[in-house]
Symmetry: C2
Subunit: 238 residues, 2 copies
Amino acid sequence: MTSPSLRLYELVLASGRSASPYVWRIRFALAHKGLAFEPVPLGFTDIPTVLEGRFKTVPILEHGATTVGDSWDIAEYLDRAFPEAPPVFSGPAELATVRLFDLWFSIEVLRRMLMIYVLDIHNAARPADRAYFRSNREARFKGTTLEALTADREARLPALREALLPLRLHLARFPFLGGQAPNYADYIAFGAFEWVGSVATVPALAADDGVLRGWLDRGFDLYGGAGRGPGLQALFDA
Amino acid sequence: MTSPSLRLYELVLASGRSASPYVWRIRFALAHKGLAFEPVPLGFTDIPTVLEGRFKTVPILEHGATTVGDSWDIAEYLDRAFPEAPPVFSGPAELATVRLFDLWFSIEVLRRMLMIYVLDIHNAARPADRAYFRSNREARFKGTTLEALTADREARLPALREALLPLRLHLARFPFLGGQAPNYADYIAFGAFEWVGSVATVPALAADDGVLRGWLDRGFDLYGGAGRGPGLQALFDA
């Protein structure tokens, strides 16, 4: 199944690699549904220059005359617009439970990742985006420099690894967070690791974290290797 | 729909109140499916004396000649044995995602509750159960007394309340964790609050925690007030 009219606005680094955890959720959701799309790569400072500046963040999905922002709105839109393709959500109870997972994951995992990798993201961004990224993110932290925010980051790695314990226990029972098959909870988590793996100069995970390594390996291979990038090596201690 | 042959072995306190968070999950699941059952109240020390000592924990469900232990096994059994009653799980993806929620909730919330309320549980147990409960639980903590384990418990209340932030954010959007209708994630969390509310001598939640109060109030009223007990008042600061 292809849909030549789908365009996905995404965030790219100097390497050209797509590196927003929220865009990656949609890349996986599109692959899950077997939908082809045209990527529209943007840097941080390009976002206000497209679509009349109506969106402040990516992903943005264009589908013919329809434009949808916000990854959750896009994920739900895909099931409405393509009901004959494999559903992202089996129904409202799964959707709500995955939204709850997203809140937990954002608070306990994504926030910790951001505080460890925010300087790495800056350094991996396109040179033209770096000044904007620095001033925007430093303003969020009351003027603290990215260097100061990350100075003790290695001391905060254990808490990040510990926060992933529920995933590790779950994945000892199931191949995916969604059970026998991946669901949007997997895509949320894969997206975070795609993002970190694209920028990390210190590994997020321990070398012996075999359960998470196996799951990430399975995930990055899904849908013809849609998620396979340079990331897996950067994620683990040597 | 009634099933006179269903018996639920549960744990009771000196008050006679059912007070295992795992039993409460099944009480809610049975009510969700509209299944009547005969409660079999046990104290901690009674469990090895029933069903030839085959089970070390409750809940235990007897359904005719079938006996099932472990709350997850029972929840899944109910959908298999009563396929015409409302399903507890809409399908395998919802089930797996709720299991992941259970792991997060157990690590971040239930563990904290236990460390705050373990002495209260002891004091609320039937007198005949208290010596067993104390020695069993103190052994799990290398001989530390229940009094020592809970000495600084008020200082640990903020971390418990903070750990519930994902629920609070979710319930600002949906009436239940499961979305527009409660699902087993709600029953897991309601069960924890039924348990704490039955024993607490210090409130788990702040008086102004309106989002959680509204949700617990809705939850305890479900299914003809199946969960309505003395608990709600004990859960909140005055």
